[in-house]
């Protein structure tokens, strides 16, 4: 295993925030990365906006539209990462859609991302059956290609876990990303199946927004991923969202007991 990603989870339960690059601007995105690191985030997911994000709910869809209307491109995001990497080495992964990577040139994209110090890549529209063309290139440049498992995966979980890298992204609910009042999926069993196959960290995402939910998920998971709840803050507070997001991330980090708190592993 290549990456810094595995190291993240050795320190305890990781809080993994997601933000859409360029919402409201790349300058704010950069500040958000620093603020979220200071608040205790273990790993950061940077979303590269896509015109038609089929796995996203309304909140992140709207963030994609705002970012693209603001003129954000893959190249401008790479430039931003270059600036960020001068100031912090916090592990970061890109989350985007297959066409963003493919149209840039899969190898060209992955080479650039790895060269800038990105640690992984998440493509929600690339399932196990299609991962070869991306995962192989990632592995030759030392990037973790992150696999997802869903409540409908059942017997597929073992097959996916076997070849997973970095961490396994456990989708907690059916449907698309977005805040949910309760999570009914038996996430514990999903994680148990993964761990039976491979000793790899499992982070749970989709639908989580409150510290209570995060704490509950962290009981069995190694990490908790939150996107829509943070993106909502960016939407509401725009240029002034940094302190809001920082306070929110801090509350979530405390809830899951990361970094030395008494419930950490």
């Amino acid at each position: 295993m290549s990456s810094q990603i595995a190291e993240v989870f050795k320190k305890g339960k990781a809080f993994i925030p997601f933000i859409t690059c360029g919402d409201p601007s790349l300058e704010v995105t950069e500040k958000l990365v620093y603020a979220m690191e200071e608040a205790g985030a273990g790993l950061i997911e940077l979303g590269i906006p896509f015109s038609d994000p089929t796995a996203e709910g309304p909140v992140i869809q709207a963030a994609n539209v705002r970012a693209l209307s603001g003129g954000v491109t893959t190249d401008l995001i790479f430039d931003m990462v270059e600036r960020i990497r001068k100031n912090t080495s916090i592990p970061m992964v890109f989350m985007t859609y297959a066409n963003v990577v493919f149209s840039y040139g899969t190898e060209r994209f992955i080479k650039r991302a790895a060269g800038l110090g990105m640690d992984g890549l998440i493509l929600p529209d690339v399932p196990f059956e299609e991962k070869e063309e991306f995962a192989q290139v990632c592995s030759s440049y030392g990037l973790d290609f992150i696999s997802l498992i869903a409540p409908t995966s059942h017997e597929r979980i073992r097959m996916i876990a076997k070849e997973a890298q970095g961490f396994v992204y456990c989708v907690s609910s059916l449907g698309v990303t977005g805040v949910r009042s309760s999570i009914t999926t038996d996430v514990d069993s999903m994680i148990r199946l993964v761990k039976e196959e491979k000793d790899i960290p499992c982070a749970v995402g989709f639908g989580i927004s409150t510290p209570e939910q995060a704490k509950e998920m962290a009981a069995s998971a190694d990490g908790v991923i939150v996107g829509s709840a943070i993106v909502k803050l960016c939407e509401k507070y725009k240029e002034d969202c940094v302190s809001q997001v920082k306070a929110y991330v801090k509350s979530m980090v405390e809830a899951i007991g990361y970094d030395g708190a008494d419930e950490s592993v």
Binding site: F50, P58, N99, E129, T152, R156
Partner: protein, 394 residues
């Protein structure tokens, strides 16, 4: 490489949440496509309910007027619900029922596929929800009413450009949230495997009939078969049984909108590049960073930024040819066929008629061209009148 490939195209680029659903569908389809009982039931539906086989009509006036090859029209517009969409929908809804599903969902652009799905759902007692771009629900208000009349719930889609591609995205999102009892009736030869294959097989009845009807009427195969292409379901249906007949030329007519040199076009082969979207690798209209382009055509049914993977492969291998047809040419052909043969074609189908008007005069009199008229044009009359400056509303 994964399953469902046509050359380099196709595949299953979808969220993990949907993988077991498409695998289950593939397994069920592979079982039922060879099941005599299923095929008997489907044939009965196609013949007795949808009115198949559709006529292969010799367009004598058009032939004389163009002064070249003999022109035949494959009359899919005469099917129940007014287009070829019913062929696929009856197959898929019957399959869904056999699979124990109780609810079907579908996207629609102009409303033809939505109406066909709502019809089949009403017939087979299934719950039905249709996703349609909000922009399109306004442009095609009558079809929205028609779907509701048939018992379907119509959900206006406000995301993105609020047209067909967004309706597809939203139906996919809906499917990820409710898989257990729900089948997604995809309307074209696109999306993840096995949809391009399933839809093609259900539409292949078009070329199977053309072949038999042509041999009966002329004692030989046609020289050219042609159809309009958006996602490409009526075109692949028209081509399929001729793909191995190397002497039959296959022509797909794309919607060029205001022209392939403008941004207001939906001609994927002429202006798109290879990409991955809506579950498949194929050609898509997109910018240099892979953002999907907001395409345009006067025809809501061809207003889609991609093309089915099998068409992309037929293009790569040179087996089929794809030509752009502008709004203006399509509208002229719409009027031309109405006056010449007394047949009002769908504006989609008029794209194929338009190219035939250029091609047929260059051919010999002993040659034969078959044009598939994929649907009837009643739904387009108000829009075409407006295009011509007459202020008519439905």
């Amino acid at each position: 490489m994964s399953k469902g490939r046509f050359g380099i195209h196709g595949g299953q680029y979808i969220p993990e949440t949907l993988m077991n659903a498409v695998l289950e569908l593939e397994e069920a389809y592979n079982h039922y496509k060879n099941d005599p009982q299923f095929n008997r039931e489907l044939t009965e539906l196609l013949n007795e309910y949808a009115g198949r086989p559709s006529r292969l009509y010799y367009a004598e006036h058009m032939t004389k007027d163009l002064g070249g090859a003999k022109v035949y029209l494959k009359r899919e517009d005469l099917n129940h619900t007014g287009s070829h969409k019913i062929n696929n929908v009856l197959g898929q809804v019957l399959l869904a029922k056999k699979m124990g599903k109780t609810r079907v969902i579908a996207e629609t652009g102009a409303g033809q596929h939505g109406v066909a799905t709502a019809t089949a759902a009403a017939l087979m007692g299934m719950e039905c929800e249709i996703f349609m771009g909000e922009e399109d629900t306004r442009r095609q208000a009558l079809n929205v009413y028609r779907m509701r009349l048939l018992g379907a719930k119509v959900n206006p889609v406000t995301s993105g450009t609020a047209t067909l591609k967004d309706a597809v995205s939203e139906t996919m999102r809906e499917w990820t949230s409710r898989i257990e009892d729900t089948h997604y009736v995809l309307g074209s030869v696109m999306g993840p495997h096995p949809f391009p294959t399933i839809v093609r097989d259900f539409q292949a009845v078009i070329s199977r009939e053309i072949k038999a009807q042509m041999l009966e009427k002329e004692g030989k195969l046609p020289d050219v078969v042609m159809a309009c292409v958006g996602g490409g379901s009526n075109a692949i249906g028209t081509f399929y049984h001729f793909i191995e007949e190397k002497n039959v030329q296959l022509i797909g007519c794309e919607a060029a909108g205001r022209g392939v040199n403008t941004a207001e076009t939906a001609a994927t082969i002429s202006t798109g590049k290879l990409g991955i979207f809506h579950g498949m690798k194929s050609y898509f209209c997109q910018d240099e960073y892979g953002q999907i382009a907001p395409v345009y055509s006067i025809s809501a049914g061809l207003d889609y930024p991609g093309i089915g993977p099998e068409h992309a492969h037929l293009y790569d291998t040179g087996r089929a040819q794809y030509v752009p047809v502008t709004d203006t040419e399509a509208v002229e052909a719409f009027e031309y066929l109405s006056r010449t043969e007394g047949i009002i074609p769908a504006i989609e189908s008029a794209h194929a008629v338009a190219y035939a008007r250029k091609l047929v005069p260059t051919m010999k009199k002993d040659q034969i061209v078959v044009i598939t008229i994929s649907g009837r044009g009643d739904k387009d009359c108000a829009a075409i009148a407006r295009y011509r400056g007459e202020d008519i509303y439905e």
